[in-house]
């Protein structure tokens, strides 16, 4: 919300976040941010007690006759899905219906991980495929109007599980970590915050719900967007839908969790150009590339900063090391833009043009036609960066490839995957 230039005082002294964070970030009198303060709870709370609390929260939802699912679990071929299903099925002994939204930008690795997920854990899964014409129209519009290629993914991933809960009359939806809590300390773990429509609209969807799209952007019609509409309050209340976050009850540590799932359940990972983390987002050609590039243009920082802050807070990186990693990775060229252009039906130069329109002048200055000077977060963070050789403490292992040169194309879901 603040316009003036960033100074050292705009930043947390412990991690690399600034008060310009799009979710909102508060610095306290010691210059420590709300995200770091809430992270301190991870080393202070009694996690055994919290697990017991989780068991009592889910108890009323266990199906009495075994004839319906106990819960809905949203999954993808990446992120924390394996660990979430492990906790739900193997630790809580619930019977989940997995749901996944086809984001179109699927890598082979992601498809493989998703197939392996449902097979290894022996779960039922529902996939939502919205028709490609609507998805392309929506994506073209959201890219033009607010510089996002990911709106449809975020909208679909966040609403399909809720719609499924209503349609199947399975009230409990179980998510992993709450992004607001993990990144900016939006809530204490002890608040046991639940899923709300308000959070989804305000943060996941950048203020734009499905119902807002046709009125602002004339090319879209109700036919293109109705699938992304949140169920109304009456429907939610009739079923008693509630969404909980395992991260409120389990000491959430994605790196450690992923490594566990890699060794016990064959979750496969891959390397990216724009970050050191190999575990998140391996299912998507665009999240760590085109989407991440746009984030840098609009927000002045990119996902590698989120990864660095997370590892700093977990004590596996110092702030200096984190900053060194950020500066190393955040200007790397995004990959696979050609695939996106082919899919959307735009030329690379028109994509570049559209992207440039969304460069935030607070972070970018055009010094000559087509030449941009970056004045983003990492340029104002202040701390002297550590040499890159020092960051052995935070190693991520790639056991697969995000981008297999032999088969570089979006994988169409529905064809299935050979086990």
């Amino acid at each position: 919300m603040t316009e003036p230039a960033m100074t050292e005082n705009s930043f947390c002294r412990r991690c690399l976040y600034s008060i310009d964070h799009p979710l909102g970030l508060v610095l306290d009198e010691e210059g420590i941010c709300s995200g770091c303060r809430i992270h301190e709870e991870k080393d202070r709370l009694d996690w055994n007690a919290r697990w017991t609390q989780l068991e009592s929260v889910v108890r009323p939802y266990r199906s009495r006759d075994g004839r319906n699912y106990d819960c809905i679990v949203p999954v993808t071929g990446a992120n924390d899905s394996y660990y979430i299903v492990h906790l739900v099925k193997e630790r809580l002994k619930l019977n989940p219906l997995l749901v996944t939204y086809n984001k179109y930008f699927n890598t082979e690795l992601g498809i493989r991980n998703l197939a392996n997920l449902r097979i290894r854990f022996d779960c039922d899964i529902l996939t939502q495929n919205v028709n490609p014409v609507s998805v392309r129209k929506i994506t073209g519009t959201t890219l033009r109007q607010f510089g996002s290629v990911y709106w449809h993914c975020l909208a679909g991933q966040s609403v399909f599980p809720v719609q499924t809960a209503v349609r199947y009359r399975v009230p409990l939806v179980i998510w992993g970590a709450h992004q607001g809590l993990e990144q900016v300390g939006m809530f204490s773990h002890e608040h046991e915050v639940q899923m709300t429509r308000r959070y989804r609209k305000d943060h996941d969807l950048m203020g734009v719900e499905a119902g807002d799209l046709p009125s602002v952007f004339d090319t879209l019609t109700e036919e293109d967007v109705w699938q992304y509409r949140y169920p109304d309050d009456g429907s939610l209340q009739a079923v008693g839908v509630v969404g909980i976050y395992l991260g409120n009850y389990v000491r959430w540590d994605p790196k450690t969790q992923h490594e566990l799932m890699m060794s016990t359940h064959q979750y496969r990972t891959g390397r990216f150009a724009r970050t050191f983390d190999c575990y998140d987002h391996v299912d998507c050609f665009n999240y760590m590339n085109l989407h991440d590039q746009l984030k840098l243009y609009k927000r002045g920082y990119s996902k590698v900063t989120d990864h660095a802050c997370r590892e700093i807070r977990h004590g596996r990186l110092t702030r200096d090391q984190g900053l060194a990693l950020v500066r190393y990775y955040e200007q790397r060229p995004a990959e696979n833009l050609d695939l996106f252009c082919e899919w959307l039906g735009v030329t690379p130069s028109s994509l570049a043009f559209l992207m440039d329109l969304h460069r935030n002048p607070q972070y970018w200055r055009e010094t000559a036609p087509g030449r941009w000077e970056f004045k983003g977060w990492s340029s104002a963070s202040g701390a002297a960066a550590a040499p890159l050789e020092d960051v052995r403490s935070c190693e991520f292992t790639a056991t697969g490839k995000v981008d297999t040169r032999e088969r570089r194309s979006y994988i169409v879901i529905g064809k299935g995957y050979p086990t």
């Binding site: 919300m1 603040t2 008060i19 979710l23 909102g24 970030l25 508060v26 306290d28 709300s34 809430i38 607001g180 900016v184 300390g185 939006m186 809530f187 204490s188 608040h191 046991e192 915050v193 639940q194 899923m195 709300t196 429509r197 308000r198 959070y199 609209k201 305000d202 943060h203 203020g207 119902g211 109304d232 309050d233 009456g234 429907s235 939610l236 209340q237 839908v241 509630v242 969404g243």
Partner: protein
Amino acid sequence: MLKKRLVGVITVRDGWAVQSFGYRRYLPLGHPEKLAENLDRWGADEILVLCIDRTRRNVGPDFDLLRRLGSLGLSTPLAFGGGIRTVAEAGAIIQSGAERVCIDAALRDAGVVGGISALVGAQAIIGVLPLSFDGAGLQRLDYLSGRSTPLTAADLSLFDRRVVSEALIVDWRHEGMTAAFDFNLIRRFPAPDVPLIAFGGVSEADQLKMLFDDDRVAAVGIGNSLSYREHAVQMLKRQAGGTSIRAARFVSDSR
């Protein structure tokens, strides 16, 4: 008969809606307009937006925010406060779509408050009193200096003379805590005819019920905890029960 009100309180700091804890600690929530729109859909009886950093920065009320809230076309009554210094500022707020103004720091200036009352009417003014109970009597906090002094008859004069209609009693010590509102602030409030809005550390239905049962309480404000659950307003209304407040409503086929 007049119903009691469940008021959704939105605390705004540096343009962000935040959770506030004891007037000291803050956690981010999001955009105030998104919270207001959500409270409107949930059927809160009133929305109270308090911009807590405006007076300290001496920048006057946040008219930009008020304009954005106004453009939402909310169908819920809105009270707006923070940074009000002059009669003109208060008048402009009422003309911009808020039903009522909230005054804290300026409450100490009887001349200004009198002028506002003459312009917009006592019904459009809520006087904010951050109070604490020290075992002997009630103390009023001056949030700018951080000092508390005993609540005096002079403090209550504007209310007694009906220049200001309602008092927002803020249990600032317990703000942000679960089920911690100190009922002494109501029980020991020296002016029995002044309608009170209780706020600060109210989160549970049984507190709500107890407060609504008290004749002095016209409304109860809830802040932070409304953001922790879906349908928080409706759930509290259902559980607090009774006919003293409007029934909970779940919108069907929302826009």
